[in-house]
Symmetry: C2
Subunit: 241 residues, 2 copies
DNA sequence: CGACGGTTTGACAATCATCAAATACAGTGG
DNA sequence: CCACTGTATTTGATGATTGTCAAACCGTCG
């Protein structure tokens, strides 16, 4: 798969990331370029996609971090997954779909609308969307397992590892080091914990030197050991025989 | 959407369920019929799909209950979702995909391979797969929210409501009543709890008359009230304007 | 400087897990 | 028909994990 190309030419932008997912035609490249020129800024903690609303076309996150989430009637909030630069939101399998979750900027964010694949055929883009969707599916399964069967300690470690994997794939992190621009409160909402407990568990992770986390910089002193400890799963690309 | 047709003609078989998801051509109907003739039986607690293995084509569950799951290296098990009669497993967005979870029969089960959509174009089937996939996605988000933000009491109630919704959509339940052919141990693995705690919580649900559950028959004395109490979300079909 | 959002800490309570054993229930073979 | 077996449910006693409430601390920004 074209995923391996990342090892050689890491994408240096959200567009590059998308075009790395499949082989795009000249026309598709042009279309992608045109789409990304029309950007929209969203401030931190602003909702830019609402559960229950129709989703006409997918959105591409050009910069910043965002998340998908749901809120319960009494205010409890669950973050379903994070949206990192180069990620797509609102990928729907069907036309005229209704958003089954809302989306929120976690930092200052830039987004743009992506072309649909419907009227004019864009096989390359469709393939890129499919691969991006498959990865989303995979990360959602990870999320279920984290919430259902991991302890607080393991949940945080596993989520951090997954974030690093994704940032590395996107060409935004190397050497087991990345910036983590989100609050402990946000982590708590993603991990089914309270911010107080996240804080205490982070302390334990630091004590064990499982992670180093200071002023928004996250480092794994021993990535492999931590991954083994929490039975971390990384995404496996489709196989071409 | 054709989903509304269920209200009028509830499907009486797994095939009928599939053909209710989209408008199939004559050829596609024939193809579907041919596929379902070639069935495979699987005994309870037998794995019929393994994480890490390639998934050539989707499987249709013709009868019985199954689930998707993952196991951790130390034996902890998480059920990711249930597979009910008429459901598809191994729906992949990309070709040559690798299963990101295993699947297991929970009761005696019949499955069959479904045609791929690749060589010969089958737009109706593709649409049916897309809709089935969209519903799977939705139920997975429900699962994340359950595990992350609901109490044990709410988790069980919400899962039961969802199971009923799906069984009703499949034409296998009415009148807020259904058969529940799974053990408390299985429920525990789905809900991130222990079987002991599931048992105690079921007692509480019975005490409150939130559910009636005896010898595999599950009834909701007041479905609407319970749904409101746990902020239950039902799948919303794509909208055609 | 003060205000504000985020982090950190403490004391205590609730939820849920663990371990162990008793009971119920269905199937099987004598 | 009945003992026997294995699996599922139920209950009790106890402990660990995580939540709640409250306050202190810290850095940033106006």
């Amino acid at each position: 798969m074209t995923l391996n190309a990342h090892a050689i030419h890491p994408p240096h932008s959200a567009q590059a990331r998308i075009s790395g997912l499949a082989t795009l035609s000249e026309a598709e490249h042009a279309l992608l370029d045109r789409s990304t020129r029309n950007r929209r800024r969203v401030s931190p903690y602003r909702e830019f996609l609402s559960e229950g609303q129709p989703v006409p076309r997918p959105l591409l996150l050009l910069s910043g971090w965002a998340c998908r989430f749901r809120v319960l009637s009494d205010g409890r909030r669950q973050i379903l997954g994070f949206i990192l630069p180069g990620d797509l939101v609102g990928l729907c399998r069907t036309d005229h779909a209704i958003a089954s979750a809302s989306a929120l900027a976690l930092t200052q964010v830039e987004i743009c609308e992506m072309p649909g694949t419907e009227p004019t055929p864009t096989p390359g883009l469709a393939q890129a969307y499919a691969l991006a969707g498959a990865m989303d599916d995979f990360y959602l399964l990870n999320q279920v397992t984290r919430l259902g069967r991991l302890t607080a300690y393991e949940r945080i470690a596993d989520l951090f590892l997954e974030m690093y994997d994704r940032m590395e794939l996107a060409g935004l992190a190397t050497d087991h080091e990345m910036t983590l621009p989100i609050t402990q409160e946000t982590l708590a909402d993603a991990l089914g914990l309270t911010s107080v407990h996240v804080n205490r568990t982070l302390k334990a992770l630091r004590r064990d030197r499982a992670v180093v986390l200071e002023s928004g910089l996250l480092t794994f002193p021993d990535y492999a050991a931590l991954a083994a400890q929490v039975d971390h799963r990384a995404y496996r690309a489709p196989t071409v025989r």
